[in-house]
Symmetry: C4
Subunit: 492 residues, 4 copies
């Protein structure tokens, strides 16, 4: 690596397409060959040619992305006096664009972390602390928010019938997930672009997962490179990786090989979002220029609006089918989990196709609105196809905010529960926030177990629950007799 | 047609009942013989006698109505210097009466069209942009709005259970409706007096339908003459026509013959409104003098209030019965659809009477309040009389605002869905608005299909849905045993 | 009757208990013998002794009460110059006490009668126009208002399934009630102290009933004497009379004889209020000194509050039982209707005891809160004991505000529906208000019938309705097995 | 007892750990030996050494606690001129800390007691009159308040079907509870730290119970010593005692022996709170230094917050099991009631273990949120295990605020109902408030019984009720088939 000093005068000379140097965090790079491959387009690079573009880079990229993607010979040297114009690490661009104070300065008005005592508290703080766009991107869900709201509402309508007079002094809620130890029966569900909430983004989540002994499932649209995230944790720390298959399949192949190489423990193949859902709150606010460090997905406003979720999903392969699973499994050599199963038939097919786990999920209500709430899918599967639970592991996410929510899913047969948005919101406080959230959830699980009269998750069974308030919502046997259609008529 | 110049001085001389000339849009007409037949009464004409009454005419009539109804010899010539006192085309009278700016000037405060991203956005804009009276007329529904609200609410309570891992790259949602091609499984439901929203009224809808490849069902109470609407479209463009049978039957005969002549493709006979429902928001605002260009229906306030819907419905024949359908069919030579079927028994009778289609509709909640929500009628019919769907086409309208709403109806067996109010609201932006709305709905259908794992509407079946949350609302077999009534007692 | 002039000087001389003259509306009465029998106590009379007490009298008494109760020899003559200090007829005392303008002056701010287009409009106007105490007395219901609100809510949850293509030109909704003609299938339910809303009180209702051809059921706690009310109508006009049995039974005997003599057509024996319900809004406002002209019931605040309803109910006999019905029937020689049946068992007992009708009622939610809503009682009775409807007439009241509400009850087997509070509220406009309300209800019934496809109430059957949304609320067969109680334990 | 005068000068000399005198309410105590055993820590005592600490003592302790716990020889004498610096009796420390006026001065703004006419009125007054911390401690419930709210909501959804025409003149609602006379079918449920609401705290409740002839179940966390409470009542007055078993079992033994000695009639063993629930409103406000005079439980803020309920529960034994009941019964020689049964299985086990009563309770929604509402537990138990009611007495609490609420529970088989929070709230008015509340509830029961047509609680049976609106919430037979778990997988 070059350690040559590069003066500002020198830098300024390389300011055109055919000779383009750019300084980022004191390092001066020669991007001439890269300029046409830039996912964000060549224009923006050209604008920065011959300048210190640290500020612009930080607004949309994760640290380390240049080092990871460019060969050493592109590093031309160290910029003189660079520090003076470098903004505080990780200040997010939207903030500046909206004339709002960057995150670090804002932090002082957030309530002290110890005053937050449940997951909803984090949501409340995040709704005020994040930029409007980030808040919209994180919190939004499909169209009328019905699935989003019902995910949570139905959980709360499941009643518990505690048992009494049992010795509940020692409680154990550790869990093995796909064979890996977890200190709690939940994991961090993949959620995109964590860096919008905090400069440390997914790194903070990885470190918190390490401290708390839980597993992080890394989003395919993470803001940090996969390698950086994994390396920020402990060498022994297990990670899962969420995959969106790219319509340019070779890119997925590369990603899977990299995941394998990094020691990722399982691939969560996203199956509920061949196209992105319509998240209107997200569409209504213009997207800045944002890019994922893993998928390279990039957001630019179009005529449908500025939906970050939609814009970053353009690369996803709409033609993925069951028969592609073998390829993913072979390439990665890893256990496969289907993320987004919403139908008993598909759960059974998952067994047939030999996948290792399924995640009952509607993408947190972000894909198809009025899709059946996640917990209802679990109740239905447990009622109608209990054998599935002995063939593969079943996870569920969507609306889980309380220890008792999680305990209900475990009692219904889930191996573990995914917690997504709350972890994004916790990042307002960085790693410490994610740790505090984890401790709260653990504590709520422990208290709930004791109050239920159980000391081990194996004791959690449907007997503990009264699901009568939602049982009628489980799809009954078909009440609609077949019709001898005059198919030719309506068919074009 | 006369092209003689007529001076203002000349015009002014013909200012009495027995010699009455009036100028409209530069043309000077001799209305002396017509004066007693004017549906709006002779007084108003006399007031305008001998003057340029373009402004007064525009306030209540559609362009072309004079040309269509008066013989050429009544045209006395062209008014000199007429342009100066002609108001902007289509400025609506209510606006002026309320001292509000006319529509065209208002337009500048409406949000830009591309910022509207769903049907509800159009409703919101319309609620602010339309005159209070027009808003009340369009948006109102019967008495306590229960059916109106439940139309939509029940749609949202039907859950979807998406399938996964299917190739959804290529999606086709085109549909044949009564044998006519439609680019989407919905059509524009008839809604009266579109010109109150925009000077182009139904013409804009016709043009948008052409551009978007969908079908318009023209209201019997349209503000433009039937001929103008049809001609504003493409010669090959299919139209349907909604019929209110007039108690003066010969007028209906004339109308049907005209429809036939104009190439209309089907007659939607309105059967859910032998009398108009009580729409209280509409009654509470005085009606200006409004007249339909097709039915000639005219609104004047009476002691019950100013309900435009009610006042324009006075001509409707309350004695229409099943046996009259043959006459309508014969006269028009066109397929017959019953608009407003709300009962399984009547759907079966429709089959018996050989009609070509039925539209499950409660008039958008505008007829009888607490009438069963439209989607519930579809669910019930599909459960109890599936054979009906193979004998005729079934449509449904009322509360459909989302692509997923439409998809649910298709999955339940409907051939197509009618979308009414949203198109009226879209007219705030004229043709462009109607096109934008259509594109939004198409996009939502496409996204919903992909997220459901289907690529063709033929794949949409009840299997896709979980109707458990509303199944209990389907009328069960009669729980009320017969009573040996002492009929004579209560009977007068 | 004496027509002697009595001077003020003369009047003033008779100002003590043993010689007490009082002038009321120009007439001077000798009340010396009556002073100890005054239901309002002797003190108030003594205060007025020797004065013109017209104002004080009008505040709490109906006109005519003195003439009806005192013998002619107590009339001492006509007061000179009396008119100057007589207040506008009927100004209510509470208004003055609260420094509010009396009713007549208030009237000018009420909206014009023709702008009221439904029963709820009358309620809204009354809530603003009546004194707070009167509003509380009329509108209040028992404790948490649950039955009160559910009365109405359940009606709206019954769905209608209209039939189509029937000739609905001529509609007949007249009804025979206990053999008496009524122009509509509803009657005026008894409601106490109508004079608090308007000086004409029950007289206005009687006159409106005459004009509109409907039947008034006169409250036992009416503010006018029974005779005045009956006489204010047409000689042929049928009236019903609501009875609270007095614990001093001889008073009830006198009342029944008087009812018989006045040509009353039926006695509605109140059975749902052996004690008054706890109407907290009423209790929270101090009662002025109010007295019924029929029952003599009088209200004075006590330690539980100022509940007019409760205070006026002190005379009611808590020990009334089925065996007393024979006495009431014999004494009055009239048909007997039980008002307040709430249980299928009691409806069957009513048949056994040979009563002529039952009124399913919970006193408009004013007796026992959480008592089953009235329409649910009708649904249950029609399901479980249809034979009852062929043995006696069934009425229902509670929450009926719409023509469609009434039609639903008729379809479920009711002979007629009682409308109570809305008529009290209509009295803000006196007789004219009651007539306007009646016309609105009739119009709503007519429109509803046409939109249902029926022309005669005999065609209204359960077939027209979908009660699925409330069917589950009908009490199922007993799910609670018997317990071999250790009765002795808990029993004192 | 020493009556020596102690001067201030003398007092001040004993101001160190090894020689520590403190004056409280004129009495001077030598606390040298006690200083290290003080549950509140030695620091606070040292701060007060050599001073008149009446103010500090009153803030956290009940009167009499020193006399009860220290031997007579520790009383050194009477302080001269003590009265001047003694604060008004019972002023609570929080008030001062928050710069709010102490309770006694606040009282003048409370509405007059007679204007409170139902239990909710007391709650409303308390919410304004108590310090924020006390309000939070009393009113809070677990996490999302779902059980707390549903406790009440489900009660209101049970409908009553009154009977008519029964002689209801004489009504008797007295009850025997575990053989002891009660003038009403309810008792005062144990609720902690009543003194925070009023200086007389539990003493006021005891006196009100005496006057009204009902039974008080004394909280284990009462603010007054058990002896003081019992003695403040009538010698014949029955008391129950709620027990939290201490993890230092000998302390529980002592407490039980004391209870026996004091003539307590039954021990209510708390079984629904082996650990305290998470009451977030309580956690959010810092706890002052509060201590129970019975359990010695003390509250100090920790990192989870300031939850008084949680902090005072640290001493509770999490390992209590069914087999410990024998010890409690033997030690106390008293009938045992399990407080907090929430499961039919546990109710049956209670019969097997020979306990004398069970209290269906979820701790007023304060333990585990979404635990089944209390009245639903009663409905379920009555449906599924009616035999339990003949083997032991069943009580219920949680959400009971109305006489009709209580009557419903009795009709479902409960022997009596516990009323908790309302009594705490009533203490804003001291003993008089508790009496007024009792009278209100009695009156509501009487009125409800009469309106139901019953005169004795033995007539209250499920026949009186329509539980159809909640029947579907009763847990149905298990819909979840067994799963052949691969237990080894998820188990750590």
């Amino acid at each position: 690596m070059s350690t040559t000093q590069v003066s500002f005068a020198e830098l300024r000379r390389h300011d055109k397409k055919e000779d383009c140097w750019i300084a980022v965090h004191s390092k001066v790079w020669d991007l001439t060959e890269f300029i046409d491959e830039h996912p964000g387009g060549s224009e923006i690079l050209l604008k920065c040619a011959g300048t210190n573009a640290t500020r612009e880079f930080d607004a949309v990229h994760a640290p380390g992305i240049l080092e990871e993607n460019l060969s050493d010979d592109k590093l031309k040297g160290i910029l003189e006096e660079a520090s003076s114009d470098v903004p505080p690490k990780g200040a997010v661009s939207e903030a500046r664009e909206k004339n709002e104070a960057p995150h670090d300065q804002d932090a002082q008005i957030n309530p002290e972390l110890h005053t937050l005592i449940n997951a909803a508290d984090f949501e409340r703080v995040a709704s005020k602390s994040l930029t409007p766009k980030t808040w919209a991107f994180y919190s939004s869900a499909a169209t009328d928010l019905i699935t989003h709201q019902q995910n949570k509402a139905l959980l709360r309508r499941i009643m518990i019938q505690p048992r009494i007079l049992r010795n509940v002094k020692d409680v154990d809620f550790r869990r093995k997930i796909l064979g890996h130890n977890s200190n709690a029966p939940f994991f961090i569900s993949p959620a995109a672009m964590a860096r919008l909430a905090h400069p440390d983004g997914e790194l903070a989540l990885a470190k918190a997962a390490k401290t708390e002994g839980i597993i992080q499932c890394i989003s395919n649209n993470a803001s940090y490179p996969l390698g950086s995230i994994v390396e920020s944790g402990d060498p022994q720390q297990p990670f899962f990786f969420q995959l969106y298959v790219n319509s340019e399949r070779h890119k997925t192949t590369e990603l899977l090989l990299k995941a394998k190489e990094l020691g990722i423990k399982a691939i969560f193949v996203t199956v509920d979002a061949p196209v992105p859902g319509k998240r209107e709150a997200d569409e209504r606010i213009a997207a800045g220029s944002i890019q994922s460090a893993i998928s390279g997905a990039k957001a630019t406003n179009d005529k449908k609006g500025g939906g970050l979720g939609r814009l970053m999903a353009q690369y996803i392969d709409k033609s993925l089918t069951w028969s592609d699973l073998a390829w993913i499994k072979e390439t990665s050599g890893l256990p496969i989990v289907l993320k987004g199963v919403q139908n008993v038939q598909d759960a059974k097919m998952a067994v047939e196709y030999g996948v290792d786990g399924i995640m009952l999920s509607n993408h947190g209500g972000r894909s198809l609105d009025t899709a059946q709430p996640a917990i209802l899918n679990l109740v239905e599967l447990r009622m109608k196809a209990p054998e599935v639970f002995s063939k593969l592991e079943v996870y569920v996410d969507g609306g889980f905010e309380r220890g008792s929510d999680i305990l209900k899913a475990i009692a219904l047969g889930a191996t573990a529960v995914g917690v997504g948005r709350p972890y994004l919101y916790s990042l307002v406080y960085g790693q410490e926030g994610a740790e505090h959230l984890t401790q709260i959830l653990k504590d709520e699980i422990e208290v709930s177990m004791r109050l239920c009269g159980i000391t081990d998750l194996e004791q959690a069974s449907p007997d503990l629950l009264n699901t009568s308030d939602i049982d009628h919502l489980v799809r009954s046997s078909n009440k609609f007799p077949a019709v001898p259609w005059k198919v030719e008529r309506a068919k074009l």
